[in-house]
């Protein structure tokens, strides 16, 4: 990698910010409609420093991480089952697809009603939304294991567990990580939607406060920027783990 690998990233960001500023200036937009980037940046830094964002950020992060882990672990197990049992796949896949087809937005109020406005309902919503892409990616990955490698394993008298750990999992990893990348960004969406449906803390709650009672549009944008950064950061964490685990192929 050259020393200037970051240059296109910075340049792209600069163009984005300039475009934003241009829309505000040319459109003559009031700050409560679309605040200019420097106002949002100032509010962002201010809200982080004076502790406005922190408790909401913390609550949302806990929901995302627990929901993502729970949803992913269940999806890995079910995805493996889908790949290895035709009967299970035929029984389960209609329900999985149907569950995925119902918008989480509609489901969220019901889940908050069932599981309360606290952490549990958010974890359930996150896990639910993460589940499908990870389960499908796992199934596809496990099925992609080269039958010739499985025959090699058999010829070397590999046990069921050895086949799983030395052949199936390594072969499925690229596909599984594809699912996890999608899943982790969806986990952010799940947490926000869950909070929207009813919560006392969280970045969505902060947005609602800023919009509804505080009329603080820059704060709302600062919260949106925080959510976006959380998504990008978690995505990069997954990519980092993927790079470490997969390496040269």
């Amino acid at each position: 990698m050259t020393r200037t690998w970051w240059f296109p990233v910075v340049a792209g960001f600069a163009v984005f910010v300039l475009g934003w500023k241009l829309v505000v200036v040319v459109g003559g937009l009031q700050p409560y409609i679309l605040p200019p980037p420097e106002t949002v940046a100032g509010r962002f830094v201010g809200a982080w420093l004076d502790g406005t964002v922190w408790p909401h950020f913390q609550a949302t992060m806990v929901e995302i991480v627990i929901g993502f882990v729970v949803g992913s672990v269940l999806a890995l197990l079910v995805g493996y089952g889908l790949a290895r049992s035709d009967l299970f796949e035929r029984l389960a896949s209609p329900y999985l697809v149907a569950a995925q087809a119902i918008p989480i937005l509609v489901l969220a109020p019901l889940l908050v009603f069932w599981f309360g406005p606290g952490l549990l309902s958010k974890v359930v919503i996150c896990a639910l939304i993460v589940f499908f892409p990870v389960a499908i990616a796992t199934m596809v990955g496990i099925r992609s294991v080269d039958a010739r490698l499985l025959e090699l394993g058999r010829s070397l008298r590999a046990t069921r567990r050895q086949i799983l750990t030395t052949l199936e999992i390594p072969a499925a990893l690229p596909s599984i990580f594809g699912g996890l990348r999608v899943g982790v960004t969806l986990a952010v969406v799940g947490a926000i939607v869950g909070e929207w449906a009813g919560a006392s803390k969280g970045l969505a709650v902060l947005i609602n406060l800023a919009r509804g009672s505080l009329f603080d549009t820059p704060l709302m944008f600062a919260a949106l920027v925080t959510i976006a950064l959380v998504g990008v950061a978690l995505y990069l964490v997954i990519v980092g783990i993927e790079r470490r685990l997969i390496g040269v192929r």
């Binding site: 010739r148 010829s155 070397l156 008298r157 590999a158 050895q162 030395t166």
Partner: protein, 269 residues
């Protein structure tokens, strides 16, 4: 030169095998194959495409069970893969996410060898198959075809098998590399004298390597000829020009159904 061996004898007794077809019928692939390979012997299996050569090798490897008849290793029926039998496939069949070294020691890992013992064995194997030690940290995608097949050979030798089964192992390599591999195979045999069953399409390769060349009929496969190669060992590429070789080749060709070869064989005798 050749160390005497007491084990590794393969016996095939009326091995029949059919594969189920999609319409519910069955496709006979092997129709009563009888074959005895003594311990330390080298037999080449040759035959037309689809005659069941690879299937027969899988029966010996314990990967397929015959519908009737049986395969035996030292008199004991083979029912499952056996660590005394090493297998080299047509393609290297390496795990793409493992380095060459980790591919070579894969069978040792599956057999729960401790790391220190694996490392010692790895050094010996690398030397045995003449692999560039610098290449052992590379992944299969970074290796040439020849190097990959060396890694596959080392992996098959990892557990010191008494029997080495090779399924057209060098067919993807160019002719010169292939001859070198054949000679290296003989050199390996000189050191440990495993029983070798080599499936091949190449008459020259069969003659260069084997004590006996067994010709299989078109599907369903059965043994139609068992020809002894009358060439002294150690053999070299130069031996392939000898008169005995062309006569053996003609004989093999005539059993493979080449009428011209049959005519010339009759004219010569």
């Amino acid at each position: 030169m050749t160390t005497p061996v007491s084990s590794g004898a393969i016996t095939l007794d009326g091995v029949e095998l059919s594969f189920p077809t999609r319409d519910g019928g069955s496709l006979p692939v092997l129709a009563g194959v009888d074959l005895a390979v003594p311990a330390g012997g080298i037999v080449a299996l040759i035959g037309p495409n689809g005659c069941g050569k690879s299937t027969l090798l899988r029966v010996i490897a314990g990967l397929l069970s015959p519908s009737s008849g049986e395969a035996r290793l030292d008199g004991v029926r083979i029912t499952e893969p056996d660590p005394r039998i090493g297998l080299v496939f047509q393609e290297p069949r390496l795990l793409p996410w493992r380095s060459a070294a980790d591919n070579i020691t894969y069978p040792l890992e599956l057999a729960d060898w401790p790391a220190a013992r694996r490392a010692t064995r790895l050094t010996a194997l690398i030397e045995m198959v003449d692999l560039d030690p610098a290449a052992t940290t590379a992944h299969p995608s970074e290796l040439s075809g020849g190097m990959r097949q060396r890694v596959a050979l080392a992996r098959a030798l990892a557990l010191e098998p008494e029997v080495l089964l090779l399924d057209e192992p060098f067919s993807a390599l160019d002719a010169l590399t292939r001859e070198r591999f054949d000679l290296e195979l003989l050199r390996l045999w000189d050191r440990a004298a495993p029983t070798i069953v080599l499936v091949t399409h190449s008459i020259a390769e069969a003659i260069l390597v084997a004590d006996r060349v067994v010709v299989l009929s078109p599907r369903p496969g059965r043994v139609v000829a068992d020809i002894t190669v009358d060439l002294p060992r150690p053999r070299t590429i130069a031996d392939l020009d000898a008169a005995a070789v062309s006569r053996t080749a003609l004989e093999i060709r005539s059993h493979l159904g080449d009428p011209l070869a049959t005519d010339r064989l009759e004219a010569a005798s």
